[in-house]
């Protein structure tokens, strides 16, 4: 996945209202009116959030029906979940790697004696 795509997904997710909209859509399709209901927000404001989510590929909107139901698209979310998982693993793996590397540094010092640091 291109870095830009991940960035636009994250940017879209970086808003609590949009995350709440996604959580709502996770339990099934619904209309813009239904989505607006739990938020103290005008329809145009909700529509704006939906456009951001749609551009990021996180939701799709039906064209068939007049009420254009929204539904969640799992593809980009899967990438985000993978990324977050990787992030946690990354730190654990990074520290493991550091430990391993330090053992190498220690062994080297033992063999060659501590080198004086220049400057």
């Amino acid at each position: 996945m291109a870095v830009d795509q991940l960035s636009s997904t994250f940017a879209a997710l970086a808003d609590p209202t949009r995350r709440a909209i996604l959580a709502r859509l996770a339990s099934g399709e619904c209309s813009v009116t239904e989505l607006a209901e739990p938020f103290d927000m005008s329809m145009p404001a909700v529509s704006k959030h939906l456009r951001v989510l749609e551009r990021a590929g996180l939701i799709a909107r039906g064209r068939e029906a007049q009420w254009r139901p929204c539904r969640i698209e799992a593809g980009p979310l899967k990438h985000v979940a993978d990324w977050t998982e990787r992030y946690r693993h990354l730190w654990e793996a990074r520290f493991d790697r550091l430990e391993h590397y330090l053992q190498g540094m220690k062994a080297k010092e033992k063999t060659h004696g501590r080198k004086q640091r220049g400057k």
Binding site: V3, A11, L13, A14, G75, V80, M105, K106
Partner: protein
């Protein structure tokens, strides 16, 4: 936690000491001085930072280690370039303390202040890295974005739909 054969791996912990912070900690079987060097000298950092296996490398690692000096790291993995991090050193007290700003390139407005503390513990060194974000929202985004949405969706469903999309 993943089972790992690497020494002290089970001492790795992630906690949230306050609304705006994430803390990572781990013990290392090496003197503090060596750990500090491994964290602050590019020739060392390039050998361990983000190197998950031999598909990973660190093509860019610049560290101007003085107060006000800049640093920048770009990793490279099987999927190409990235992630890119950069920042500035605020406090340098070898071998016990290092404070710097850290910005994850895609989110320049959501930078953090990272405090690295090294303490000696029974002949080992405890590394504690605390990242403080500008707000709880940003911290939670870093920590939870994927997990939160993932939990709402349930991973099973996600997996199922993702498979359909393939």
């Amino acid at each position: 936690m993943a089972v790992s054969s690497v020494a002290n791996s089970d001492t790795f912990k992630v906690t949230t000491p306050s609304d705006r912070e994430i803390t990572l900690t781990r013990l290392f079987d090496a003197p503090r001085r060596l750990v500090f060097e491994a964290l602050t000298r590019p020739e060392h950092v390039k050998r361990w930072w983000g190197i998950l296996d031999d598909q990973y490398s660190v093509p860019v690692c610049e560290m101007d280690l003085r107060v006000g000096g800049k640093w920048r790291i770009v990793g490279r993995g099987p999927h190409g370039e990235g992630p890119e991090f950069y920042g500035e050193y605020l406090e340098i007290v070898p071998p016990e303390r290092l404070v710097n700003t850290e910005i994850f390139a895609p989110f320049p407005d959501a930078g953090s202040v990272v405090t690295v503390v090294l303490t000696e513990e029974d002949g080992k060194t405890r590394l504690t890295v605390t990242a403080a974000y500008p707000s709880r929202e940003v911290r939670d985004m870093v920590l939870q974005t994927g997990m939160e949405t993932g939990a709402a969706l349930s991973y099973d469903r996600l997996e199922e739909v993702a498979r359909e999309l393939r």
